[in-house]
Every structure is written in structure tokens, then in C-alpha cells.
Symmetry: C2
Subunit: 363 residues, 2 copies
């Protein structure tokens, strides 16, 4: 069966960058004769204004039949005025849940061409090639009880619950170990076991799995605060970083500084294999909807385009095509193509579409 890809551009710059990503996907489909079907559906704030729903029934149905979703962005702050129930139904979190995604892959590589715009020294950046496996189905994102309530003295208090069961930990860790095995063979498991019992369980479970199934992979535990520091001081020491939903959110953004801009960082999220062996997946830029620059045609589409590379690799099994896309991005950057987010002061910047062209020209 062909891989069924659903495109949800969503809010803000989402549709703009996704349009360029889609051009790249279609090009690779043609070039490599990939068995893909592609469908686009409305989703997000404009859809809400037009139809009264963030994710109309049609789009819901499309999500349910999709193998892979190519996602743009969701502007949750722009939804403050919508009914809470609608916001929850149409949120990125509910989409992740509906698709059963548990492993969020966030690769961070540095491009030499961007040394000049990086806040870091070139020697810090050289050779950085790491990937986060962020657990995406659990933790404080979904834990109950949660909410704002009043205590005995009438004071409001906010409560969220961080929970992981051992199956969730094993599932994410097994994925991360297997990934490390195919890379440089180092897994860094990140928690806050010195303060959180849930972190202590995380550590135990990862240690046991290492012992039982992955002794050929080197494994280390690291506290989340130490990891935040080491990502800045010695990023090239990392290979695969396994961590929970919340630490993964914060630490992967901390590492984004290494890549020069959020505008370069792709992500892919996977479910457990279905009976047919395929994993459901969602690919999206790490950046958000950037309402301040939406509609201006200036957003950097490289994160979305690199998310297509991940789709090719993880969902289409087209490793060669994935590498071609990544190489084309590097070649475009090496040739001096820049969007505003990665241009030096005074340097000419390409718009979203022109950057898409710059990549397509190298495919």
C-alpha cells in the first residue's frame, strides 16, 4: 500500500513553510518513484473562523487514515478566545495523542556555513551531530490530577502531575537504544533522579533494559541540569539523548541555539508499529507559528523541508532520498542562501519561496 501523507499547514507561518516542504516531497516522490498519496486538509485558527471548528470532521477522518502527517504549526496563544473544549480537541497535544505518538526525534546538526550567525564559537559547533528522543506520550503533559483548585484556606493552587509507567519508559528507551546502535553507540539518558521518584524509576528501567538488551551500546545517566550545561559546553560529546516529555521540550530548544536558528530544526514523532509493521508519524518544524512574521513570505522553510527528509527516512523508508534533501539544504546554505533568521545584519535575505527554490535547484 502506498504511504498516505496528510498535510496540515495550520496557523501562522505553517502553511507557508509547509508549501515549500510539499514541493520538495513531490519532487522526491517523482524522482525516486515513491509510492505516496498526498492529501491536504484545513486545520487551525483560520479553519475555526471559517467553519467554527479547529479540526472539522473531515480533517479528523483524514488524520485517522493518514500514515504520516506533515504538520506546519499551531498557534495556541491565538486561541485564547475559543471555547476550551474546542481548543483541546484541536490542539497539537490531542493530535499527538490521537496518532499514538511516543517518540519525538529532534536531530541537531550544525552547518558550517552558519558559523558566522551562531552565538557559539566554530570550535564548539564543529562535529555536533546529536538527536533527542523525547518521550511524547506521558509525563506532566497528560498526567492527572491537573487543574487550578482552591485549598482549605481558599487560596488557588495549580496542580500538574508527572507520571511515567515502566512500559512507557521501556518503549521510548528501546527506541533510543536501537537508534544509538545504528549511530555512534552512545545513549545519554536524562532525568532528575536526585529529586523525582519518577526520575529514579526512569533510571532503573533504562539501566535494566541496557543490561538485558543493549550491552553493546554505551549508556550514561545525566541529570537534566547537567545536560543543559553540557549541551552548551561540549555538545559534540552527545549522540542520542533520551529524556521525558518536559525535559525534552526544554533541552531540545536549548540545543537549538547550536543550529543557529529554530528555523533549521526538524522533528519527527512516531507511534508504536501497527499490525502492518508501519509506525504512524507526524513531522513538523520545531519552531512554532511565528504570528509576527506570518503572511509576509519571509519565514525560513528549511525546518519544514528537513522534516520532509525525516518523513522520507522514517516513514517512506527512502534513506537515499532523505540524504539528498539534507545534502541539498547544506548545499544551498553553502552557496549563501539565507532567510532573514540566519542572515547577518546587512546580508540579503531570501523569502520563503526563494529558499524553497534554492533547495529544489539542488535536488
Amino acid at each position: 500500500l502506498p504511504l498516505h501523507v496528510l498535510v496540515l499547514g495550520g496557523d501562522g507561518i505553517g502553511p507557508e513553510v509547509t508549501a515549500q516542504a510539499l514541493r520538495v516531497l513531490r519532487r522526491m516522490q517523482a524522482k525516486h518513484d515513491l509510492p505516496l498519496t498526498i492529501e491536504e486538509q484545513p486545520f487551525g485558527n483560520a479553519t475555526w473562523r471559517a467553519t467554527g471548528s479547529l479540526m472539522p470532521a473531515e480533517t479528523h477522518a483524514a488524520v485517522d487514515r493518514a500514515d504520516a502527517v506533515l504538520f506546519g504549526a499551531a498557534d495556541s496563544l491565538g486561541r485564547a478566545a475559543m471555547p476550551a473544549e474546542e481548543r483541546a480537541r484541536g490542539s497539537l497535544l490531542s493530535l499527538r495523542r490521537r496518532l499514538g505518538l511516543f517518540a519525538n526525534l529532534r536531530p541537531v546538526r550544525t552547518e558550517r556555513a552558519l558559523d558566522a550567525v551562531s552565538p557559539f564559537k566554530p570550535q564548539t559547533l564543529a562535529g555536533v551531530d546529536l538527536v533527542f528522543v523525547r518521550e511524547l506520550s506521558g509525563g506532566v503533559y497528560y498526567g492527572e490530577p491537573r487543574g487550578i483548585e482552591r485549598d482549605a484556606d481558599g487560596r488557588r493552587r495549580g496542580i500538574n502531575t508527572h507520571i511515567y509507567d515502566e512500559d512507557q519508559i521501556i518503549r521510548a528507551a528501546r527506541f533510543a537504544f536501537a537508534l544509538a546502535r545504528g549511530r555512534r553507540g552512545l545513549l545519554t539518558s536524562v532525568d532528575k533522579a536526585n529529586v523525582m521518584e519518577a526520575g529514579a524509576l526512569w533510571r532503573q528501567v533504562v539501566t535494566a533494559l541496557h543490561h538485558d538488551e543493549f550491552r553493546d551500546v554505551r549508556m550514561e545517566h545525566m541529570l537534566a541540569d547537567t545536560c543543559a550545561l553540557m549541551l552548551n559546553r561540549e555538545p559534540r560529546r552527545f549522540d542520542v539523548i533520551l529524556t521525558d516529555n518536559l525535559f525534552g521540550d526544554v533541552l531540545s530548544d536549548a540545543a537549538a541555539g547550536l543550529a543557529g536558528s529554530l528555523g533549521l530544526l526538524p522533528s519527527g514523532s512516531l507511534s508504536a508499529p501497527r499490525p502492518d509493521g508501519r509506525r504512524r508519524a507526524l513531522y513538523e518544524p520545531v519552531h512554532g507559528s511565528a504570528p509576527d512574521i506570518a503572511g509576509k513570505g519571509v519565514a525560513n522553510p528549511l525546518a519544514a523541508i528537513l522534516s520532509v527528509a525525516l518523513l522520507l527516512r522514517w516513514s517512506a523508508g527512502a534513506e537515499e532520498a532523505a540524504q539528498e534533501v539534507e545534502a541539498a539544504v547544506t548545499a544551498a546554505l553553502d552557496a549563501g542562501a539565507r532567510c532573514a533568521d540566519i542572515a547577518l545584519p546587512g546580508e540579503a535575505a531570501l523569502g520563503t519561496e526563494a529558499m524553497g527554490e534554492a533547495v529544489l535547484a539542488r535536488l
Copy 2:
């Protein structure tokens, strides 16, 4: 009444770096004729081996009469073999609690002399002068329920609870706003309000307090993931960063990369004012016990020495003396004094005591 200072060297490199900090404190006491009494007490793993207690009754009593604790380090990993009850009684967290500390100040400034050892470019570092106000009494560090239990299917699961009530938020925020008012007038309040209800309450309470009492201070809200990125990309945009216990832990370590080394970062934690108007306080390096280099006389004492500057400022009301200590550290670094953590490869490094001398020579 004189300020009563209790010195707890603790574990690993704690006693070594604290010894140098204490020399600096005594020098400033003499020079400025400060009304201080100083007491040292045993605490930590060596004390446990000698007495069967991490914190003997004598030390507990000393904590209760101290106005300010000058703390070295606690090696919690080295305590795995001790009874859980003893570990809890002698932990840094229980000390923080006993002293009623709620505001953990973590200033991050960059030293031009260390540009060469920083992972960041000099232009990223120039002019960085920020301070974290990390809420220290609540959040996931203390929330109940917590622990490892079995679910209905017999699977183990780890649970921690993140809770903040509005009084805790107001107390920390009021402190941070007042601090910002005396600095550059910008407060950045950091949460994850798009995912956590406790973060949404945090945001509401900070917004209301800003409106009611601090309209002259500029205030912005920032998501924790965005803050992690911005600390790397544009650190000089920050003045005071207010955040919760866990985000404060991780983000302040992320920012530590800016200072070149954890070995340079001091911290001070304060309680609410007592009836006599004084706040109880604990001053400690941000770094830990570093068991790998303990006892070798090579640890960098500057974080401990700069913690003395914070003690002078916040507990002794001796701002001039505080600035002298900070200036002496800068002067020593400018003159080329380096410990191993901040030496370039091949550069001669001073030991702990020699670095202490290098600072004392400039006081």
C-alpha cells in the same frame, strides 16, 4: 545583634572551596569591621562515617541559630548506601526547607578575561548581566503524592506532583519585581502555561501583581523552552528571570555555560523576613561536590568566594564589601589567574588555595 554565620563545608570539594571563601569573609569582616560571628560545624558523608549522622544534633542546632549558612556541597549520589531516612534528614532539600528559603538568586555575569575559554563568541557574551530568581520552596521538589507505586496491571509507575499556590507565586514574584526595579527594570517570568495549568496560574498571578504593584517594571512572560533558546541566542536581553523550582534548576545551569564554567557561579537563597526584619539565608556555589577532583586541591573556589559576596550584599548589608570581592575576582581573572576548569589547554592552572590567594591579594 551580629550576623551569625554557620559554615558547612560538606562533601567532596565543598570543604576546600569553602575554606577559601571563609578566608575572604574574614578579611572583609576585618577590613569593614563587620558585626559577624562565624561558626563551623561538621556535615555530610564524612560526618556520617564518623558519627552515624549526616547532620548531628549539634549541627542541627547550629542551623537553627544561624542567620546565614555558607554551604559547600552535598554529594547525594555518594549517599546511596545510607538509610533513606538519614538521607532525607541530611539533604540539601531538607536544609532549604528548615531555613524556610524561597528565593534562590543565581546571578550570571560574564568575565571578559574568560572569553577565550567560553563556548560562546565574545559578542554573545558582552554585557551579559542577568539574575535568576528561582522559586525554591515548592513545585515538583516537594509536591505530594510522590513515589513509585504499582498500577492496576502491576506495572510500576513513578509519580511526582507539581504544585504552586498563589501565595508562593506572589512571594517569589514580589521579590523578583523588587529586584528588577533596582536593576534594569525588566522581569521575564518563565513558565509552561501552554501545557501546565500550574503555569497558567503562575502567569495570572504574576500579571496581577505587576498590575497592582509594579507597573514601573517591564514584565514579559516567556515559555520555558523559548527561554532555554534565548539564553543562548541573546542572553543580554535578560535582566531578572523569575521561574519555578524545576525550570530554575535547568535554565540556570543552561545559562552557566555563558559564565565559562560552573566553577564561577554563586548562589544565595533567602527566606521571608523574620520578625526582626532579617531574612535567613544560605549561600552556596551552583556547582556540586565534584567527587572526581575532591581532595586534590584543584577545585575552583571562585563560585564559593562569589557566594561570600552575595552574603555580604544580602545578609550583611555590606554592598561595598560585596563589590570589592567581585572586583577582586575580576581583577584576579584579568591578571591571568586560572584554575583547571577555566584554563586553556596547556595553560598553567592554579590550585584552590593559590586562587584564594590571588583574590585575597586584591582585597
